[in-house]
Amino acid sequence: MSWIAERRQRSRFEAVVLPHLDSAYSLARWLTRNEADAADVVQEACLRAFRYFDSYREGDAKSWLLRIVRRTSYTWLERNRPAELVALDAADEADGAAAVDRMPGAAEGEALLMNRSDLRRLDRLIEALPMPLREAIVLRELHELGYREIAEITGVPIGTVMSRLHRARSLLRRNWDGKDG
C-alpha cells in the first residue's frame, strides 16, 4: 500500500477515534486507578483499534473504542497486576452476596449531603468497588451512557448491567453510611 493510502487511513482513524480520547483515558484511569498505567493502556488500545480499524463500521465510535479500552485494561491488569484482578473477582462475589440486602422496609432515608472532603472520599469508595461494579457505575454516571451501550461495552446482558448498577449503588451507600463506624 502506498504511503498516501496509509496516510489517508491514518487520518480517517484519527478523525474517528481521537475525539473520544478523554473518554478512553477516563475509563482506563478508573479501571487501572493510576495515571501512568492509564496512559499506557490507552496508547496500547489505540494501536489495537488501528490494527482492527477494518472491523469498525460507521456508527458509534465511542462505544467501539471504549470496548477496546476496557478489554485492554483487563489484559493489562492480568499481565501486570494479576493478584489484584483475582482479589477483585473474589470481592465481587462476596460483596455481591452481601449487597443484595436492600429489601423493602429497610429504607435508609436521607440523601447524601457532602462537603468537599466527603466528595474525595466518595471517589475512593468508587475506586474500591470490584471491577465489574466499578466499570458499570463509571460508564453510567461519568460517561452518562445508557444500559444498552454499557451492555455492549462490557459484553453482558442488560439485566446484568441493571443488577451491577444496583449492587454498586448499594455498596457505595452502605460503605458511606459506615464511614464513622
Partner: protein
C-alpha cells in the same frame, strides 16, 4: 404497585430506562409511599454527588502526540489488502470459541461457582422479562403452539406442559440468552405472579437447589437430560405446588 416491585425498578427509573407503563405506575406509587420516595431521593443524592465529585479524567496532552507517533510507526493490517495472516488466525480462534460456548462446552463441568453464576443469570433474565415488557415471544396458552415455536431456534426442546387445571396457566414462551446460548423459557402465571421456567442442558455437578435472591425465589431441579430453573416472586407454598405439578406433568 407494591413496595417490593417499586424497589426493583428504582435504579432503572433513576437511569431513565423504565418503559412508559412501568414508569407511570412507579410514579404513582412514589407519590404516596412514605418509604420508597426517600429511597429514590437517596439514590438521586448519590448520583448527584458522584457526578459532582468524581472527576471525568482528561487525557494528558502528551498522550495525544504519543498516539499519533505510535500510529505512524504502525503498519495497518489491511495495508496488504486484507486481513493479515495473524489477524485471520485470531478471527478463526474467536469463532471456534464462540462455537464451543454455543454448543454447550461451558456445561461440561459445572462447579459450584458456575452454578451460582447461572442462578444470577436466570434471575437477571426473569427480571428483564418483567421490566422490559418482553414476557413472551410467542403468547399462547396452547402447548401445541408454544412447543413447536422453539424448534429451530434452540437445540433444546422444552416439554409442552399446561398447568391451567392446577391453577398455573401457560402464558407463552420466550427465547432468552443464558450463558451465551439461546435457551427456551416457559412462562406461567400463578395468580398475579409470573413464573419463568428456563430449560438448560443437564450438567455434570448439577445440584438441585432452592435459593432466594433479590426477593425472588429460584428452584432448580434436573429431569432426564434437562436442567430446569424456575424463578418467581410467588409465595413459597404456591411455588411448591407449581414445582410439584410441573414435575408430575413432565414425569421427573
Amino acid at each position: 404497585m407494591e413496595c417490593a416491585e417499586a424497589r426493583l425498578r428504582l435504579d432503572a427509573y433513576l437511569d431513565g430506562e423504565l418503559a412508559g407503563d412501568d414508569r407511570a405506575a412507579l410514579r404513582e406509587h412514589l407519590a404516596t409511599c412514605p418509604d420508597c420516595a426517600p429511597e429514590l431521593a437517596a439514590l438521586e443524592g448519590l448520583r448527584d454527588s458522584i457526578r459532582r465529585s468524581a472527576p471525568a479524567y482528561r487525557a494528558p496532552p502528551a498522550l495525544r502526540a504519543q498516539i499519533r507517533a505510535g500510529l505512524r510507526r504502525e503498519r495497518t493490517a489491511n495495508a496488504a489488502g486484507g486481513l493479515s495472516a495473524s489477524a485471520w488466525v485470531a478471527y478463526a480462534a474467536s469463532l471456534l470459541l464462540a462455537v464451543a460456548v454455543g454448543s454447550g462446552g461451558t456445561y461440561l463441568v459445572l462447579g459450584e461457582r458456575q452454578q451460582d453464576t447461572l442462578a444470577e443469570e436466570v434471575i437477571d433474565s426473569h427480571l428483564r422479562s418483567l421490566l422490559a415488557d418482553h414476557l413472551t415471544d410467542v403468547a399462547s396458552s396452547d402447548k401445541h403452539t408454544v412447543k413447536p415455536w422453539f424448534a429451530g431456534k434452540t437445540d433444546l426442546s422444552p416439554p409442552g406442559v399446561d398447568l391451567a387445571a392446577q391453577g398455573f396457566p401457560l402464558v407463552g414462551g420466550r427465547l432468552d440468552l443464558i450463558a451465551g446460548r439461546p435457551v427456551p423459557a416457559l412462562v406461567y402465571r400463578a395468580g398475579k405472579h409470573v413464573i419463568n421456567v428456563f430449560v438448560l442442558p443437564k450438567a455434570r455437578g448439577d445440584e438441585p437447589e432452592t435459593v432466594t435472591r433479590r426477593g425472588y425465589s429460584l428452584r432448580h431441579w434436573v429431569s432426564g437430560d434437562l436442567g430446569y430453573w424456575a424463578v418467581s416472586d410467588a409465595a413459597a407454598d404456591e411455588f411448591d405446588k407449581f414445582e410439584h405439578a410441573f414435575r408430575a406433568a413432565v414425569g421427573g
